[in-house]
């Protein structure tokens, strides 16, 4: 089989899962006793069917089958760096798991040329009772390195991690940051021809992340083939010239990463997380007030295309008042990607409420709390309303947009739900369960 200088060739790769079958309800004691007696047989059949797909037809609409990947085909040339993007459940992780041999595909095939390593997690196999040194060797061999290889790279790894002093201390005494550093240091010294990376940059402090990114940039210049899955769009566009967008298990688009990421972020509307009008004459508004910029940022002032669902989001509106003596109401429209208005916040800052404004530059900021918006694209429209007399001074629909990402760490309102979770908002509520053991059925 000749595949030229192709490193990875994926042809019609498909993978399906069978989700749990419906539980039957029993309306009588006899029936439930009978079904209890029958249950070992039924459980056996159910367990068997979980991995038996002989009867599955790709085109049929079988409700308990989920196609995590469906007829995915693409080629990656040797030395190419390709980013894989898509919302949760689009099939990114499944794709990497199949390519790294963790799970088998249901159909299609992939041909890989060269030694392949996958990093779906850093620190796999780390054991708290072992010292840093022992964990380097353990983790390294798990990742496919040989002991001799680790011997020669050991000093470099320890040096990269920056925790020389604690290398002979059991890892259970490490802070979580130190653990990540050490784990990443091992991973960064992998030397395969093809590397599959999944989201591992989501851990560690910002400075260390930067160090890892630059290490990866170095790696990518050595002609290695890399497949990179990430929600970090900045890192992705920086590292990967090419991106593949997966949606619902199929390849939606494949091409230059800037274009793919942009289309992913706003599905064609061309809205970004920051918008500025550098020229006053071209800015929206009238002779009283002009909108100069709107930006989406985190608490630290970082402008973000995608935000963690748990984090508060700050939306700054910068505007110039050119003529004094008007009462202004600053407001936003917050919409989802279906165009549904989620809510319309109005500036309630008491300092400027019902007060005629002097001329000058203003920045009004609305804080949207964390654990409030639902996952997906959020579009913000900006507007300024005049009071006494009542009329609209300016309104710019879809001024900025950002993506809310739920990383599924288990501490979000998703809890342990991993599939599509509908809903306009996703607040994290207080839940409480009271339990009385002896009162069931009374």
């Amino acid at each position: 089989m000749t595949i030229g200088n192709t490193a990875i060739k994926v042809e019609n790769l498909s993978k399906c899962y069978r989700i749990g079958m419906k539980e039957e309800m029993h309306d009588s004691l006899i029936k439930s006793v009978f079904s209890f007696l029958k249950s070992p047989v039924k459980n056996y059949q159910k367990h068997r069917s979980l991995y038996n797909f002989k009867d599955v037809d790709k085109h049929s609409d079988n409700s308990d089958i989920i196609w995590a990947l469906k007829d995915v085909s693409f080629e990656v040339k040797e030395g190419e760096i390709v980013g894989i993007i898509g919302v949760n459940g689009a099939g990114k992780s499944t794709l990497l798991k199949i390519l790294s041999k963790i799970t088998d595909p249901t159909g299609g095939q992939a041909i890989i040329r060269g030694k392949i390593s996958s990093l779906l997690e850093v620190g796999t196999g780390f054991h708290p009772e072992l010292t840093g040194r022992e964990n380097v060797y353990l983790n390294g061999t798990i990742l496919g390195m040989r002991k001799t290889e680790l011997d020669s790279k050991f000093d470099e790894i320890v040096d990269f991690s920056g925790i020389e002093k604690f290398i002979d201390t059991p890892v259970k005494r490490y802070s979580s940051g130190m653990k990540v550093r050490l784990a990443f240091a091992v991973a960064a010294h992998l030397d395969p021809e093809i590397l599959l990376i999944d989201e591992v940059l989501a851990v560690g402090d910002a400075e260390f992340q930067k160090k890892c990114l630059s290490k990866m940039e170095n790696v990518s210049q050595t002609g290695r083939t890399i497949l990179f899955v990430s929600h970090n769009m900045h890192a992705l566009t920086r590292l990967c010239p090419r991106a593949i967008l997966l949606n619902g298990g199929v390849v939606q688009s494949d091409g230059e990463s800037n274009k793919i990421v942009a289309s992913y972020l706003d599905f064609g509307k061309g809205v970004k997380s920051e918008r500025e009008w550098p020229l006053l004459a071209e800015s929206p508004g009238d002779n009283v007030v002009r909108l100069r910029s709107v930006r989406v940022r985190t608490k630290d002032g970082e402008i973000k295309d995608s935000v963690d669902i748990r984090k508060a989001i700050f939306i700054d509106m910068e505007y110039d008042v050119l003529e004094e003596g008007n009462e202004l109401m600053i407001y936003y429209h917050v919409m989802d990607d279906q165009g549904l208005e989620i809510f319309n916040p109005i500036d309630s800052d008491p300092d400027w409420r019902r007060r005629a404004r002097p001329t000058g530059r203003y920045v009004s900021t609305a804080e949207i709390p964390g654990n409030f918006l639902s996952e997906g694209m959020i579009y913000i429209g900006a507007g300024i309303w005049n009071r006494n007399p009542e009329f609209r001074r300016l309104s710019v629909p879809d001024t900025v947009a950002f993506l809310v990402v739920d990383n599924m760490d288990g501490d979000t309102a998703r809890v342990d739900w991993i599939r599509h979770l509908p809903g306009v908002v996703r607040p994290l509520l207080n839940w409480e369960t009271t339990y009385s053991p002896n009162e069931s059925g009374r």
Partner: protein, 286 residues
């Protein structure tokens, strides 16, 4: 370093490093070359288990002696003194010591090996390593325990003035048999346990029963002649009888050993094949 230089040649001449991923159906053979490539991992995973086993315990590796010792004492009192089980004249303490130490190794390895895929499931979903490693590791890491507990046997031998004989040269054979039995069972049960967690509940109690299936607390000579082959198909019988004869310098009771070796080999090969068949769905079912 050479490999890097040859990289371009290799890729042009192609084919030698091609991985083809496609749906696997049916039976897979064992990839020994791959296992060999991961040989360092065997060592480090076993090392991890050994180090973690008695971490933060006061007695540490003394547990390796204490656990069988307590069992030997209890059995000596119950079966030796109270029930007066026949041991063909061998002091009961000596008789059971040489059986319980290999049995402890086998039962511990067996239960760890059977649960190996469940306990390592987080790793299974994150990285590919030959899964066959997992049920084999306990057989390696428990060797340390076993070796330490051999001290107990030496002490008992000295106390009862048992002279070493040439029979001791046969111990490697029985060691091999002793290690392969729990691995064979572990291969079967670990792959079954992924789907049927019942195994987990059945295991401790099955092991309690299993101790009576082999001549550990009683002598094999009490088994009627006509059931001997059937009885000896249980490979644990061969291991215990073999060790006992080796250490005590008795004639090796081959009729009790051959059937066990055959069934152990069958169990091991079939277990490995079944494991290979099941490992491809492990991650999806776990």
């Amino acid at each position: 370093m050479d490999s890097k230089k040859n990289n371009s040649d290799k890729l042009n001449s192609n084919n030698d490093n091609l991985t083809i991923i496609k749906p696997n159906t049916g039976w897979q053979v064992i990839n020994f070359r791959e296992l060999l490539e991961y040989r360092d991992l065997f060592f480090f995973l076993a090392w991890r288990d050994i180090k973690a086993l008695y971490a933060q315990t006061v007695l540490g590796f003394s547990w390796a002696i204490l656990k069988p010792l307590v069992q030997i004492i209890v059995f000596t009192i119950i079966f030796g003194k109270v029930a007066k089980v026949s041991t063909e004249g061998i002091p009961y303490f000596l008789f059971s010591s040489v059986a319980i130490i290999p049995w402890t190794y086998m039962s511990q390895t067996m239960s760890e090996s059977s649960e190996s895929l469940i306990t390592q499931q987080s790793m299974l979903g994150k990285i590919y390593i030959p899964r066959l490693i997992f049920p084999i590791i306990p057989a390696l890491s428990r060797i340390v325990d076993f070796s330490i507990s051999l001290i107990l046997i030496f002490i008992v031998m000295i106390y009862y003035r048992v002279m070493p004989t040439w029979n001791l040269l046969l111990t490697p054979l029985f060691f091999l048999l002793m290690a392969s039995v729990p691995v064979a069972i572990g291969l079967w049960l670990s792959s079954l346990a992924i789907r049927f967690r019942d195994i987990r509940h059945a295991m401790p109690f099955a092991i309690q029963m299993l101790i009576y299936s082999a001549p550990i607390v009683y002598s094999a000579s009490t088994i009627p002649e006509k059931y001997r082959i059937l009885y000896s198909l249980n490979p644990i019988v061969g291991v215990i009888e073999g060790y006992r004869a080796c250490i005590l310098g008795l004639p090796i009771p081959w009729p009790f050993i051959w059937p066990g070796i055959i069934s152990a080999v069958i169990l091991l090969v079939s277990g490995a094949l079944y494991f290979r068949r099941m490992e491809r769905v492990v991650v999806d079912v776990i």
